[in-house]
Amino acid sequence: MKNKKRLFETIIHGIFLLLGLITVGFVLLITIYLVISGIPAIRTIGLFPFLFGTTWESTAAEPSYGILPFILTSVYGTAGAMVLGVPIGFLTAVYLAKIANPKVKAVMEQAVSMLAGIPSVVYGLVGMLTLVPGIRKLFNVPDGASLFAAIIVLAIMVLPSIIKVSMTALEAVPKEYEDASLALGATPIETYFRVSVPAARSGIAAAVVLGVGRAIGEAMAVMMVSGNVPNMPSLFQSVRFLTTAVASEMSYSSGLQQQALFSIALVLFLFIMLINVILNFFLKGDKEK
């Protein structure tokens, strides 16, 4: 009887262990699939011409598969989105975490989660019909669907993660720090920017890195506003990102062209993994303090 019960408990334990390990299994599955399907094309094309080739003509008679335009577009696009999004998100976070009265804070917090809940295709749709024609008229360029439009859309899309994570970090700053600074004669605003913000810096850095991850992985919204032509990146030209390169040709590709798309996904995945490592570095630094 007792043995039977013990066996039963062991089986249950085993089942839960399996369920616990399933996330690890999924990560392995994704990694293995991307590596296995991404390597062949890189082998055929060659690592150097693939990563640093400047022309992507997958459907030409003599196709060439260089993804440097996509890599650079993704990097520039993300950097641009950060340049616009980080100051706005950061300043909003400081205001909401430290200064805003509770009512304003509650309303704005709802607004920010609303912004996070808007599907990316809706961002794309609104961008397509307001930003794209707006840019065309304002800057007098032939087509508004450009890197610039994508940067603005991405900047808006990363706002919620930057604001939320920075706010959490700022709210966790011990009150004593601020009290000490106020007692020494600093004004509240000086205290927030010279004491609270430096104290919360690793959390704010994590917020920025999280935003970078969001921006570099976004596909649909960017697809709708960036024009999707594989040019080398330039602010007012139609461009293609790593994500949109995968999405735009997937449905009709085959053979080496499709394999090359998997290789692009692998490159994107490596970028994301790198960002994860950086993110963990900042979060860990926060815990150890």
Partner: protein
């Protein structure tokens, strides 16, 4: 007076910072307001009863989104049914069973990694693994399986958080009365995580509603009107995917905005639901 000693330079700094913060906050708030109003104003006039209740027909040239609504429901249902046991099980393992610290770190790291992977990569791997390797073809079910992987970390995290609030003394009490581990989990731990699971479900529904890149290659974009079981085995567009197809490929902006307005209203509802649910559970816990 002490305050008079604040020098001009410092005053300028304070004034600058204060105005910058104001501008940033107003900009953020204004953006949200603009998005909501713009989409609702352009979308709502296009919503009619016909639009809700019919399927697209090339013969009469009309477009209805009933199939897309049903597809969305099917895919939400299938995903939740699959993801809840997995997520809850993983959370229970982490909080109740795992004694090896390394194992916990490994699993939590894996969950974090999963939540950072962009949806386009999920779409690609889902297509390779579920559609091709497991031979599900392009179908709602393959889409649902892909979404299961995406939403697993969410359910896991919310469940774990609610399990942490179950007092240790409850467990000890049950053990003291001679209950086995499984019995303790079934009678003490599981009832304690209901709020976490519900919160996780709401968050997941929000994510599924907004998902497009992961579904485009796994669930496809057909608009056929099907029952639940036939629907799951055939390709179909969810509302979000339908929006994308209508806007990008067909240039039907009126329809796209109508769907966007519906999605916007759903997103608002989900935000509200999250708030209400978390307040309700908090109040009950404090009693």
């Amino acid at each position: 007076m002490l305050t008079n000693k604040v020098s001009g330079k410092r005053k300028l700094y304070i004034w600058c910072m204060r105005s910058l913060m104001w501008i940033a906050t107003i900009l953020t708030g204004g953006l949200v307001l603009f998005f909501i109003l713009y989409v609702l104003i352009r979308g709502i006039p296009n919503i009619t009863w016909e639009f809700f209740s019919t399927k697209p027909s090339y013969l009469s040239g009309q477009i209805g989104i009933l199939p897309d609504i049903l597809n969305t429901l099917y895919i939400i249902l299938a995903t939740l049914i699959l993801v809840i046991p997995l997520g809850v099980g993983a959370a229970i393992y982490l909080t109740e069973y795992a004694s090896n610290k390394r194992m916990v770190t490994l699993i939590e790291y894996a969950a974090e990694t999963l939540s950072g992977i962009p949806s386009i990569i999920y779409g690609l791997v889902g297509m390779l693994f579920f559609c091709q390797f497991l031979n599900m073809k392009t179908s709602l079910l393959a889409g649902a399986f892909t979404l299961v992987i995406m939403n697993l970390p969410t359910i896991m995290r919310t469940t774990q958080e609610s399990l942490k609030t179950v007092p240790q003394s409850y467990r000890e009490g049950a053990f003291g009365l001679g209950a086995g581990k499984w019995r303790v989990i079934r009678t003490v731990v599981l009832p304690g995580c209901v709020d976490g699971v519900i919160t996780g479900c709401i968050l997941s529904i929000g994510r599924i509603l907004g998902e497009s890149a992961a579904l485009l290659f796994t669930a496809g974009f057909a608009h056929a009107l099907n029952g639940l079981f036939r629907g799951l085995n055939s390709p179909g567009a969810t509302l979000t995917v339908a929006l994308y197809v209508y806007a990008k490929e067909q240039g039907e902006f009126g329809i796209a905005f109508a769907i966007a307005a519906i999605l916007m209203i759903l997103a608002l509802t989900i935000n509200l639901a999250t708030m209400v649910v978390s307040k309700y559970f908090q109040r009950r816990k404090n009693l």
